[in-house]
């Protein structure tokens, strides 16, 4: 005969187990949030892919910056590229800056991709992966939205579309003019 306490403990443990498992359905194990949102964007100085010296993120303080991690071996990157190109053209010459960061790829193969895909915004090399690691990147493509205050306001994992890009940018521009 089991004591009352043991019976109650067994029933509670079983209930806890089942509730946990049921709650788990709401969870997507692939959706992982990084720790960088809402914090100042990690500063970096990196070589421009086209050989035109270095680029420093701090040069763009006061502007809205879209940082896009990409690689030519990454299929979703080629999928999202047209949206990036259109959005770049739309904001050309404004206070919105787009930056590409190469993810785990040699400079020359990335450079030929940049030329082939019509990427006219600045792209930088990240040979040792330090920039990607400091932003908490899991894999390309990933896109970060940095406000004029230099704080990371948002992050998008996977191929991004035009609407998401424009929404993210406009939210930051409105904030800046307010």
């Amino acid at each position: 005969m089991l004591s009352r306490a043991v019976r109650v403990a067994i029933v509670v443990a079983m209930l806890g187990l089942v509730v946990t498992l049921a709650l788990a359905f709401r969870r997507d194990p692939h959706d992982i949030r990084t720790g960088t949102i809402g914090k100042p964007a990690p500063a970096f100085v990196a070589d421009r892919l086209d050989g035109g010296g270095t680029l420093s993120l701090s040069d763009y303080t006061g502007k809205v910056v879209v940082v896009n991690f990409f690689a030519s071996w990454c299929l979703p990157c080629t999928q999202e590229n047209p949206a990036l190109v259109r959005v770049y053209e739309r904001y050309r010459g404004s206070d919105v800056v787009m930056l590409g960061v190469v993810y785990q790829e040699s400079r020359d193969s990335a450079l030929s991709y940049v030329k082939r895909m019509g990427i006219n915004w600045s792209a930088v090399a990240d040979d040792d992966g330090r920039v990607a690691l400091s932003y908490g990147v899991f894999g390309p493509p990933e896109t970060f939205f940095i406000g004029p205050d230099g704080v990371i306001a948002g992050r998008h994992i996977g191929p991004i579309d035009e609407t998401t890009l424009i929404t993210g940018i406009e939210a930051l521009r409105r904030e800046a003019t307010r």
Binding site: R33, T34, G129, G136
Partner: protein, 153 residues
């Protein structure tokens, strides 16, 4: 008496071996890198540590850790740098000093509760003293086994 001496010597030797093994030594830079990277989760793998993973990302993370170790950063500082980028997710075991550290208590609680329940059962029993079977009993048994086995063929 001889048995007792052997037992005492065995315990002494065991203790000596453990003390020798556990003597503190200053970790080398490589050992520190291994220790830190073993605690970090590789972002592109399935639950592997940065130390174990052969992936490019893990290799870059190992390089970064090695560089920070060379710069004289402490384990906690290096860990904090990765937590800032990847969140607590990047640690393969949750820090003890947070509410998620409760997970460390659970095994202790399970063992303690189990041992309590078990010892209650053991103590609850009436002590039975069992004598070794006498030589006569053993002889009788053996004879019976031999007889029955012979009977079976």
């Amino acid at each position: 008496m001889k048995t007792r001496i052997v037992i005492a010597a065995a315990f002494l030797a065991l203790a000596a071996a453990l003390v020798l093994a556990a003597r503190p030594h200053e970790p080398t830079a490589d050992e520190r890198v291994d220790r830190i990277t073993a605690e970090l989760r590789c972002p592109v793998c399935q639950g592997l540590s940065v130390k174990d993973s052969p992936s490019e990302t893990a290799r870059q993370m190992r390089d970064l850790v090695a560089e920070r170790v060379r710069e004289g950063k402490s384990d906690a500082e290096i860990e904090a740098e990765f937590r800032a980028a990847y969140g607590d997710w990047v640690l393969l075991s949750p820090p003890i000093a947070s509410w998620s550290g409760l997970v460390w208590l659970a095994p202790l609680a399970a063992i303690a509760a189990g041992l309590l329940l078990a010892t209650a059962r053991v103590r609850g029993g009436a002590p039975i003293n069992v004598a070794e079977p006498s030589a006569a009993q053993v002889a009788a048994l053996r004879e019976r086994v031999a007889r029955e086995e012979a009977a079976e063929g």
